[in-house]
Subunit: 251 residues, 2 copies
DNA sequence: CGGTTCCTTGACGCATATCAATCTGTGTGG
DNA sequence: CCACACAGATTGATATGCGTCAAGGAACCG
């Protein structure tokens, strides 16, 4: 299987970062690529996961449901991201469901291959550690947000991180627009609020210099989202002169 | 440094699980043991962590604070548990503060030793993966709880997991009592509620057959907490005949 | 004892969920 | 090309559950 073909146009997934071509081949020996329709449930709470999933195209949602059928979104994944890496090492059943959102193409690496390669390829276990710790960090932010942040702050922080992601490396040519990568109700649930509250919150943001038109978020000024910055976000910020924003926690 | 002395009376920490004595020595080569008073801040948000901390005696709290000074508890740790293992691999600054609660004795392993041993001792990197994924799983439950569970359900689930932890392996001699390992206000914050709400919730639990006297939680019947069970908890349950409780999600 | 810390109890207000209706856009079929 | 259906998004009205504030009680320690 030729990775350079599959991910031709895209950045190499973090999972394969710094791996030798020969190591990647070892890893993909028994992997398969598969296509799914919208709404396909790949893993259910309680399952023992059989694969590590890498999104080639499309989107996935990792979530939990309770008895009443209420959903909590844990992660939203796009192309190049992986899931079940963590669960494979939990030594227990999956605490989450995973479902496709829209048409999706996935690379599936068998669970036992992952486990054995961890022991034989040090860089691979390092990659996994970094991926999982990143998820962990995200979930810490989620917990934080739900406890002490208002909906406005949660949305603002979400926009800020999206803004920083899309402008990574581009010091000068900052685009003052971001595009929501998911349906609004999906994002709302991820942020722990109802679609109604999300919608109302978007209107509030206009007062802060953030205009919303459909799924396009337009900033009236480059520093519009700086109110929502924290130390973690500031570290992603590419501005060489961070104190220009006036509120950067690093200054 | 002799691990068997330090942890004489206790279970061996997960961090050292299945490691050869020689590997442990390699790991501890540059480690130090240190004592701290109550309230000592070991790590602050934004710090680059210098050590992995293993609790020998006492308790730690990992938490976040926002501008207003409001705290969100991420983890509460007791003897044998570790922290900063995840942060070390995040490749960024610490998203959390860590503080001692009460007098505490800690083993501190330098960060660069941890990183290098990961590459040279496969079982060690496996241990780390398992520890971190467990934290991740916990944080998933935390997110879940704050979104779709009432305070009653959160407290109930917390008690249930504590109950299952203390009765691990003891199939027959189930003690119908658990002892809260932390101050009530600390637990309340960990569960994402105020001490007032926590207190009121404890009274509600009396109707469900759970009596609270100080920090002792007494179950009037063995199945009192089964209402709060989910698939994850059920997997920890030691009862050979799980369907006796009538609500087990495994049956 | 007096002081401190922790926990509990009560009264109140507000923010967000809930329910319901309307609006917008998009794709489909006649 | 228009009419219709449907999903998603928005807007409004209502209510309730938790946080906040304030006071009182309990346990502990010198």
């Amino acid at each position: 299987m030729m990775m350079q073909n599959i991910f031709k146009e895209q950045a190499k997934p973090k999972l394969f970062d710094k791996l030798l071509e020969s190591d990647i081949e070892l890893l993909l020996q028994y992997s398969v690529v598969q296509n799914y329709e919208d709404g396909n449930i790949l893993v259910q709470q309680g399952d023992v996961p059989k694969y590590l999933y890498l999104v080639i195209q499309g989107q996935l949602k990792a979530y939990r449901v309770n008895d009443d059928g209420a959903e909590v979104t844990i992660r939203l994944l796009q192309s190049g991201e992986t899931c079940m890496e963590a669960v494979i090492f939990m030594g227990s059943n999956s605490p989450i469901n995973v479902q496709t959102m829209g048409q999706t193409q996935l690379l599936m690496i068998p669970e036992n291959i992952v486990k054995s390669r961890v022991l034989s390829i040090p860089q691979f276990s390092l990659n996994l550690l970094q991926i999982i710790t990143k998820h962990y960090k995200n979930s810490i932010h989620q917990i934080d947000g739900m406890n002490i942040k208002s909906p406005l702050q949660r949305v603002g922080y979400y926009f800020l991180t999206k803004y920083l992601e899309t402008n990574q490396g581009k010091q000068d040519s900052e685009k003052l627009e971001i595009v929501l990568p998911f349906k609004k109700q999906v994002i709302a649930n991820y942020l722990g609020m109802t679609p109604e509250t999300f919608s109302r919150t978007l209107k509030q943001m206009k007062n802060l210099g953030v205009d919303v038109e459909g799924d396009r978020i337009k900033l009236r000024e480059a520093f519009a989202l700086c109110h929502f910055c924290d130390i973690d976000a500031a570290n992603l910020c590419a501005r060489e002169d961070k104190n220009k924003c006036g509120v950067c926690p690093l200054h």
